[in-house]
Every structure is written in structure tokens, then in C-alpha cells.
Symmetry: C2
């Protein structure tokens, strides 16, 4: 009976493992790959997508094209039952779980971003992990330029024109380089912005950048960026973040509305839940990449901790989480799985890095390959060719190359395309004294207090006196908009550092009209606090008869 070989994850590790398994087993095995998306992302190219140097569709390739002979299942992985040898997934918009059996399982689920260690960072920073992140960052930057071009308020302009990238590793350096390029090229369209008003800042906790490159090359890279006007702060961490400022570990306050976080790689929560031995959230495997204690479970790539020698202890004794290593690991893992099926001995994974390359944006790079240092445009070309080499199959390589060529001759645009995102429920952080909203502002949501104390003040409609009340954790403000008030009735400011949860206007209005218990609570609240007689029932979905409209007495 044909072996069932199941690969979880469609990044470098998973994709190559599935291909190598197919090469080795041919039709003697049923090979399946499960991925959340049906495409493969060239992650290192994402900053170029954000800058508009490359079309977003040219930074991804369809997995079905790359996986001939392999079954592709687009689904979300829920859990793994190692005893029954079954993976539970949710596919489509199904809520019903589907179970997939396996004989051998390859876990290649990569890593995700976790920014929870710095207050506010998770809620206020942009990431650079997915294609949507890249698009979002691009639209965000252009919108800041649009706003800066028309605002009358100098502090708003300064915040809008200050851009911060956290982390000066490969991702951070490339990101800030492309960001500076995007801004520089766009300025000609914005007559009210002077180049001197712009600040682009990299904040790095370590004393140097680009850890995997020799120090001289990293210093050269930083110098190139500084020549282009980028500020780089070393030995500087991030203490806290709000929607309008970043506070560094050295106490410096940077007013900004754009923070890009390139730090914070963390394990996938699905892996944390697995009944496997983990080290620092990564799957503990032996040198053959078998999971400890489970002979038919294997792991590679960012989510695995693969020792490069016996008695591995230091960080450098393990395979680094790079594409270069993932692809070699995939080759060895396929060989080992075949050996395991055939009852032959397994081999340990062995590989020595050929070098490292980094893009500095604007078609400049730095590289060290086989000990030789390269910089500038040739290094950037090398960097691009390097990633092209990972595309499996000549056809695919050619197509991707032609796409990149076309992108290079295309002029850039300053179109700010942003998916109109639902407000949902988001956390907003405030420093003591920060305004939350002011009388007359557009009503943007329903606020509930997570922590800290806030002061609500308004003019009593009957007496004309100014009334203030304090709201603490569990309390709320901003609910008056449910009565149809499109601008704020009162002013709210933070008395202490604090965090509020903002529920979008649409969500709040719909919920209050439908959820009887909430409607009653608000009815009572308006009565007690504002002496207003209000009843739920304003927002009605299509085709429904409207109930009593909201009234004020």
C-alpha cells in the first residue's frame, strides 16, 4: 500500500520537502501538502512590494504550479493526534473539521510574529511577514504623505512624516531602505512637504546591524543608509508605543504614526499545543531531523531546532532559520524518510553556510559569498539571483525573471490602495495626558477601558455646566454615538497611562440593536447618566422592518 506522506506548511522548507519526496517516491507514495494559502511567498521581496518596486503578484508563486504530483490542500491546521496519526484541519469556510491520515508527517510550519513583549507594539506596529502586510505598509506610508500634504497642524505633520523601523537585521535594513526610496520618489507629488521635514529612523537593540554578516560589511551597509538620510540608533530598544509616539529604552520620545516591527519571531501556536518535545517553542529533533521520541514525525525550517553537531548547545550549533538551510534540510529529510521506509540507516544533516546577502533597498545591497565581499548594485543583483535560484524548475525561474524585468522598467506610482478594513475591535494605548477624543470629533467607536483611568467631560445640556466623570477598567465611554450622534458630545483624555479597547461603530451599532441584554444596559445607562430616554432598534439589516427609531427626550 502506498505510503501517505503529509507535509504541513508551504514555505521554503515545506515546499522543497514535498518536491524532494515526490522525486524520490514517485507514484509509490501519496504525498500531500497542507498550507493556509495556495501560494508561496518570496518573503525577502516583501519590502520591495511595499515600496512599489515589484508588483505584489510577482512576489508570490502558485503552489499548485510548483507541486506537480503532490496533492495540495488549502486549509488551516487545527491539531495533530500523534497516536492515531491524524491531522485535523478546517478547509474552505467550513466549520466542520476534516481529518487527514498520514504514515509520515513533516512539520514545516515556520514562525510567526509575536510583539507582545513591548507595550503597544502588537496593537500599533505594522509587520512585514505576509503579502498583505507589504500592501498595508505601502498604503499606510502614502496615506501619511497625503495627510501631511493637507494638514494645518504642525504636530500632526511631524508625526505623519516620521517613520520608524524596529530592528536592523536583514528584514529591518531592507525595509528601511525601500521605505526611504518610496518616500523620496513620491515627494515630487506632494508640494506641501519639504524633504527636510521627513525622518526615517531604524531602532536596533544590539550594538550593530546585520548580525550574520561580517562587521565591516554591516558597517558599510549602515553608512550607505545614513548617506541617504536614514537615522540608525544602536543599543536602543523600544520601551513603549502608542498611536502617536514611540518611546525608546533610553527615554527618547519619537512622535510618529508609522512603526514597522521586523523583530519578534515566535513559534506558531499550533506547534506550542502539540504533544511533542519542544525547545524554545521549536520542535526538538535529532540530527536526522526526526522528532524526539516519534520515529515517523519530522521537522525542518524555522519551526525546528536542528543540531549541526553532537552536544549542540550554543546558538551557532544549530541550523539558522534561513532559506538557504531550509532547502538543504528538505533534501536530507526526504532522503531520510525514504531510508526509514526502506529500513535503511538515516543520515545526519550537515551543511555550511555559503554566505549571506542583504538588500539595502533602492537596488543596492551588500553580500559575502564564499568569503568574497560585494556591495552596491552588483550585490543587489546577486541577492535577486540568489532568491531566483530557489524557484524550482526552469519554467518558473524564467517566468519569475521576466516578471521582475518588466517590473524594473515600469515607473512607480503613488496610488494608495488599501482594503477598507473593518474596524473590528482594536486596542489603543495612551500616555498620561493624551487626548482620546474631543468634542466635535467624528465618532469612531465604542471605548471600554482595559487599564488606566480616563476623564470624560462634557457640558450638561440642561444646566450648561461642565460635568466630569472618571472611567476606570471595565468602564466605557463613547456610547452616545449609538443615538445617531456622528460627532462627539464630550471630550475624553487619559489621566494615567492606559489602554482602551475600541469597538468599531458598525459593530457596536449592530450589536446594540440586536443583543437585547446590551440594549437594555445602554437604555438604563443613558437614563441614569444623561437623563435621556433612548430605546434600541436603530440599525436594521436588509429586508427587515424597522423597529422604533432611537428617540431623545
Amino acid at each position: 500500500m502506498a505510503q501517505k506522506l503529509l507535509v504541513l506548511g508551504g514555505g521554503f522548507g515545506g515546499l522543497y520537502a514535498a518536491r524532494e519526496l515526490r522525486k524520490r517516491f514517485g507514484d509509490e507514495a501519496e504525498i500531500q501538502l497542507i498550507s493556509e494559502e495556495n501560494y508561496f511567498v518570496f518573503q525577502p521581496l516583501l519590502p520591495e512590494v511595499a515600496a512599489g518596486a515589484i508588483t505584489s503578484m510577482h512576489a508570490v508563486t502558485s503552489l499548485r504550479e510548483l507541486l506537480a504530483g503532490v496533492r495540495l490542500r488549502k486549509a488551516t491546521i487545527h491539531s495533530v493526534d500523534f497516536d492515531r496519526q491524524v491531522v485535523t484541519v478546517f478547509q474552505g469556510v467550513q466549520r466542520r473539521p476534516t481529518e487527514i491520515e498520514y504514515d509520515h508527517l513533516v512539520i514545516a510550519m515556520g514562525s510567526r510574529i509575536d510583539l507582545s513583549r513591548v507595550p503597544g507594539l502588537e496593537d500599533h506596529a505594522l509587520k512585514m511577514k505576509t503579502l498583505e502586510d507589504a500592501r498595508r505598509m505601502r498604503a499606510h506610508i502614502i496615506e501619511r504623505l497625503e495627510h501631511a500634504d493637507v494638514t494645518f497642524l504642525p504636530e500632526v505633520k511631524r508625526e505623519a512624516l516620521t517613520f520608524v523601523v524596529v530592528g536592523a537585521g536583514f528584514s529591518g535594513i531592507e525595509c528601511i531602505g525601500e521605505m526611504k526610496e518610496l518616500i523620496d520618489r513620491s515627494l515630487k507629488y506632494y508640494p506641501n512637504i519639504d524633504p527636510s521635514e521627513i525622518r526615517v529612523i531604524a531602532v536596533e537593540f544590539a550594538p550593530r546591524a546585520l548580525n550574520e554578516l561580517p562587521e565591516s560589511l554591516a558597517a558599510y551597509a549602515v553608512k550607505q543608509l545614513e548617506k541617504r538620510g536614514v537615522e540608525v540608533m544602536f543599543n536602543t530598544g523600544v520601551a513603549s508605543v502608542t498611536g502617536r509616539r514611540l518611546v525608546t529604552s533610553t527615554g527618547e520620545v519619537i512622535p510618529t504614526r508609522t512603526i514597522v516591527a521586523t523583530i519578534g519571531n515566535a513559534p506558531s501556536p499550533v506547534i506550542l499545543d502539540m504533544d511533542l518535545e519542544l525547545t524554545h517553542g521549536r520542535v526538538a529533533v535529532d540530527r536526522t531531523m526526526q522528532a524526539k521520541g516519534r520515529e515517523n514525525v519530522w521537522s525542518l525550517g524555522d519551526c525546528a531546532l536542528i543540531p549541526l553537531k553532537d552536544d549542540a548547545k550554543e546558538r551557532d550549533d544549530f541550523a539558522p532559520p534561513t532559506a538557504q538551510f531550509a532547502v538543504r534540510e528538505a533534501s536530507q529529510i526526504a532522503q531520510n524518510i525514504q531510508a526509514a521506509v526502506q529500513g535503511k540507516p538515516l543520515k545526519p544533516f550537515k551543511y555550511k553556510s555559503r554566505g549571506a546577502l542583504a538588500s539595502l533597498g533602492a537596488r543596492r545591497g551588500v553580500a559575502e559569498v564564499f568569503g568574497i565581499k560585494v556591495s552596491g548594485y552588483p550585490a543587489w543583483l546577486l541577492w535577486r539571483m540568489y532568491y531566483l535560484s530557489f524557484m524550482p524548475g526552469f519554467d518558473t525561474k524564467l517566468r519569475v525573471f521576466l516578471n521582475w524585468l518588466l517590473d524594473s522598467i515600469r515607473p512607480r506610482s503613488v496610488v494608495a490602495l488599501r482594503a477598507p478594513e473593518k474596524e473590528g475591535a482594536r486596542y489603543v494605548h495612551y500616555a498620561a495626558g493624551d487626548p482620546v477624543f474631543e468634542k466635535g470629533n467624528r465618532s469612531d467607536g465604542f471605548y471600554t477601558v482595559v487599564s488606566g483611568r480616563f476623564e470624560v467631560s462634557y457640558q450638561d445640556e440642561t444646566t450648561g455646566e461642565t460635568v466630569t466623570r472618571e472611567v476606570g477598567p471595565g468602564g466605557h465611554f463613547g456610547e452616545r454615538m449609538i443615538m445617531g450622534e456622528s460627532t462627539r458630545f464630550g471630550t475624553v483624555r487619559a489621566l494615567t497611562d492606559g489602554t482602551a479597547l475600541v469597538l468599531g461603530q458598525e459593530e457596536f451599532t449592530k450589536l446594540s440593536s440586536t443583543f437585547e441584554a446590551l440594549g437594555s444596559y445602554l437604555e438604563d445607562h443613558f437614563n441614569r447618566v444623561y437623563h435621556i430616554d433612548w430605546h434600541p432598534g436603530a440599525a436594521k439589516p436588509s429586508g427587515e422592518p424597522a423597529e422604533k427609531s432611537p428617540t431623545r427626550h
Copy 2:
């Protein structure tokens, strides 16, 4: 003092009006255009974006490039005070309103889509108005193919492989043509889908398609689509829609998970609020395009009702809402505004349609131009050139043309790129007997009932008996997920036709942990109904100490 000329809206009408005003006034006027987006959308090309025939960036052009000498303000229009001659907008993420003064105001705000007349359509149909709509449709279609390829359930497969477009006007016909093309070209990647399993259906209320074309040409267009396997239903309206079926006015039930609505043009709510004379929600103007009763307020394009003759009464006595007319109106409106400023007489708008063109997708079209009928590929080329001609300036025409050329040689891909949209709060419609969710399903949100009656059934944990309870309007179910249950405890089905409001898991969890009144209510609810002792406090934002975790006793 220089005249302040303000244009609201960045579509065909607004863009051309601003350009014409700049040509006529030069530096003698301050001309400003306010638009929600900083780019112009080639709306007729959106279905091709959805099909992947054209890159999304090639269906838009940056407004700043097209408006040299005109101030562009990216902002949301809130209201107009015609007496003070001031427009109030919100720009950036500001909640603080900004006021812009004008001497002459041109209202060119277009139309929006309103699907509220058919139950469920607003909540379950895809639209084709913005670039994001096009992207969303593309990703949606590919995801249905992905799901159909892997599902074990025949009814799910049938629903996933049935695609319905409502409306057989220019937009509907082009949409269904491109949709069929996308599906046909993608099938080779999906080994488990047989072409015969696919249904692509157009539903049209009138007895014929493409109203503005001669009947013979419209009949030819429909015949071409039918030859390609598209089903076209005439004299058929939509009675109701849920997430899994469409019911026609003739009582036919079509199981489907894809409904695209190309009908339902309605006025912008901002215009409805204006202190102006409106007819059917459009600005009532006289033949010179001045708003009735206001000499310095003008309107053109979709949002205006412009008489083409004195005593205009029938629909054909007014300018149709097309790009062709909007561009000519812009020319006349600029001439009239200049005449008004100089105290000279105004001229009525006069124009006779040169013809109409429609795309059938897959690079086929039908057209009637100056009385000559054209069809097939030449008609499609004509159609493309027609829209290219609207691009102002040779540079822009050339650039857009080259982009389109490149797109034509690019192979298509089946990458399903979708912005991970927040759940927010959405309405879902059910027919009597429909399941809402079943025990073991993935928990996807908190449900509150808008209308109808639902039955919740589960096994009591102590007695083992099956317990059922009914939930009606104002009530709720699905709240147990807040205790960390990632799969459903009970089963819910609709007893009658009904509608529920689903609040996304993330939003519900955050709100219940923060909003004290809601947390208390749920605590009490779990106690009374399930005899479970639960306390709020599970989800905490970054940097905050966790409170008591949820416990079950």
C-alpha cells in the same frame, strides 16, 4: 482675489471638471479636488482585474499625476453648508473636522451600491464597484475552487462550483464573461473538479440584456456567452439570498456560495443629507448644470440629473450615467462656471451618444459606434481603446497602454490573495431548517438573533440528556467559546426563516474581557443556563498583567 473652485469626487466627472477648470482659469483660480481615494479607478476594467487578465495597479491611475496645478485633498466628505459656503471633511485618521471654503462648488460624487431591497443580498453578495471588490471576488472564486477540490461532501462541492451574477447590464455581462474565463483557465490545476460540475449563471429581471445596445447585438452577446457554457435567465429577479443559496422570483432555488451583485445603483448618503433639491436621490440641476436655487453650486455625472431638453420627463430625456456623458458634461460645466464668474450667459448641456460598447470577457466584445455594429475581438479592442481615450494626456495614455500590453503577454495565475479581513459584525440569513452550526464545528463567533427563531440543542454534561431551548430576537447563542472552547458544544438550527448577527471571535472575546457589564451578564448567564462558574478576564492585550483566567467548575 482668486476664485476658490472646489470639486467633490475623483471619478470621470470630477477629474475632468477639475482639469477643464484648470485649463480655463490657470492661476486666476485656486482649484481643489477632494476625493476619498488618491487614485482614479477605471471601473469598467474591474472584472478583468478580478479575472487576473489585468494587474490591479493597471486599472487605476494616481490622481496627483492627472491633476497638475490642482490641489488634491484625500479626505472623506462629511457635509456641506451652502450658506457659509463651506465643506466639512475628515482627513487622514483625524477625527477633527476640517472646513474648506469655496466660491463655486462642483458636486461629482457618483453613486454607490445599495442592495437592501432583496433580503440577504447586502450581506451575502459580492460587489464590483471598487478595486478591492475586484480583488475580493478573484480570491473568493479561487478559494471556492480550492475548497471544491478537497471537500468530501457533494452538496458543498455543488454550492462551491455554482456561481451567480445578478444583473445582465454592461457590468453584469462583462463580469460573468470574465468569471467564466478565470474558472476555465484555472481548472487544469484542480484535478478533482470536472468541468461539467461547474455552473455559471446570470440572473436578469428584464426580458433582455445590455439595455443601451440594439436588441440584435444584445442577443448576439448572450448567444456568445451561452456557447461558452454560461446560463442566462431572463425575466428572473432575486427573491432572497442566504450564504448557501439564492432563491429566484420564479421560486427556483440555486445552491451557491458566490453571488455577485451588479445592480443597485443608489445615491451617496452625503448627498441625501444635503440641503439641495434632489430628484430620486440625484441633484436636480437645470440644463446648465447649476443646482436649482443655488447659483454657485453645480453638479455632473452619476449623482446629477441633467435634462437634455426643456420639459424633460422620461428617463431618456436626461443624460445617462455613463463615462462618455460625464466627460462632455465636465467640459460644459467648466465653460459655464467661467461664464458665471465673468458675468456672461451660460449654455445648456447638449450631447448625443456616439454609441455603446460592452466587453463579454475573454477578449471578446460587442459594440455599436456611429451606427456601425462590431463584435468579437475587434469590438473588445475598440472597447479598450475607448477607455484609453479617456486618460488625459499623452504620457498617461502611453503608460497605461504599455501596462496593458505587458498584462496581455503575462500568463495568468491562480494565486488566491485575500486580505485577512477582520470578522467584525456581519448579518447571516437562514431559511427554515438551515443548520447554523453543529457540535464539533470550529467556533466562529457570537450570534445574536435579529429575527426568526432558532433551536439550540446540546447534551447536558451532568445528566447526559439532550436539552433544547429556543432563542428568538434579542437572544443569543454561541457564547460558550469565550470559555476557550474552540469547537462547538451544541448544535443550532433555524426553526423559521431568520437573520442572525455574528460578532467575530476576536471582537467578542476582547469585548467580554474588558466591558465589565457584558462580562457580568455572561457570568450570570453561564451560571443560570449551564451551571458553570466562569469569570471574565481571559484575553489581555500586550504588556498587561493577566487577570484571573477563565475557570470551569
